[in-house]
Structure formats: C-alpha cells, structure tokens
Amino acid sequence: MQLINKRPIILPSWKSGKWYDDFTVTGAKDPGYILSGLKTVTTNGIIIYPPGVGGCDVEVSPKYCSSNFIIETMCRIITGSLITPANFRKTDWDNRWRVEITSGNVLRLQKTVLGATTLKGTVNITSALSWNLVRIEALGANIDVYHNGVLKISVNDPDLLNNKRIHFSMYDVAISQPKGEYQYFAIKPI
C-alpha cells in the first residue's frame, strides 16, 4: 500500500460518535487493483487509502444505511481534472448525488436521475491541488455540503427521504497514472 508518501494522517473532526469502518467494497471497475492494502482502520474510524493509481467503489454495509448520515473525506487532485469526494445514491443507481472537485478549483453538487444530471450548486475553492476537507450531511430532506469547515451549499430535496443505500465512488482517478488521492474516507449515520 502506498501511504501517500507517508504523510502524517490528519484526523478530521471525529471527536464523538462512531464512524464506521466495515465497508464492503463492491462493483469496482477493475477488481483486483483496488482492494489490496486499501484500508487501514484506526480507533477513530476508517482510513481508506486509494493507492493513488486507481479508484474504487465502496458500498456501505446495509446495517449502517440510513437516510441521515455524514460523509467526510479529505482529497485532492494531483494531475487530473476531476475528483469525486462522494457519490451516494438512493435505492438504485439511476438516482444519485455526486460531489465533485474540478481542476478549475470548483466544488460542485450534482444530482442525476435516469441519466439526466442537474447541477445543484457550485462554489469556488482555493485550490483543488491542496487537501480539501469535504463533509456532506444528509439529514431528512436536506443535503449540506461543507468545504474546509464552512457550509457552502445547501439543498432541500424530499427524494432523499427514501435513501436506503449509500454508494461511494472514487472514480475519475485513472488506473494508469495518479490523478488524485484521498487521505481518508468515513461515514457516520446520524
């Protein structure tokens, strides 16, 4: 496992509550390259290290699925154009939300329903190449997106009430060359 250049782990605000670590990795684009050494568990929750040369899908264990949850991740772009801090869905893949950071230094929230994607919010960030702390809170019909501790996008969408499964994607990180990396990745039902 590549420990991201052995960089010290910067623990997020996991000061209380239980952050879950027994994710089941499913649906990977290329099973085999993603799993080995991908996950390191700490007493504070989960640390996932995509090895910097690939992406993965992570599907939360059903017992932790909830309509209300917090996702928190620290990620950055290396040379690519896009990285996806979180991608979560409802009962099927055709209804999902995606939080993206682009090399144009934009953080955006999108909703996709049956293949049609709608931009729900877009804010400027200082640098996609620096570590970006992204926190998504889904509570009831609200989705709040925080960037570096500041609430930047807030959306109300009743559809989220039926959320039963949460699916994270670390796509947009090419296999052949490092384009982005995640320092950690965690979820807490609330």
Binding site: Y146, G149, L151
Partner: protein
C-alpha cells in the same frame, strides 16, 4: 437572486461557519469576514 447574509457559527464541528439564512437551496458566492454573499437557487 444574490443576497448578503450574516456569518454565524463559531467554526467548530458542531457550530460551523455558515450563512444565516432560511432559504432551502443556496450556494456561497463569496465568503467575507463577517458575512456571506449567497445565491438563492430555485
């Protein structure tokens, strides 16, 4: 519609910095020392 909204919160995990708004769909356009410029979205 773009409006200016006071900044509330202490910057902690439980009380993050955020615009003081009751709008249900908005995004930050600009972050200032004591206020946010936000865009109210439909």
């Amino acid at each position: 519609m773009i409006i200016t909204s006071p900044r509330i919160g202490t910057g902690t995990d439980l009380d993050p910095f955020r615009p003081d708004t009751t709008a249900t769909h908005w995004q930050v356009v600009e972050e200032r020392e004591t206020e946010f410029v936000i865009e109210i979205l439909s």
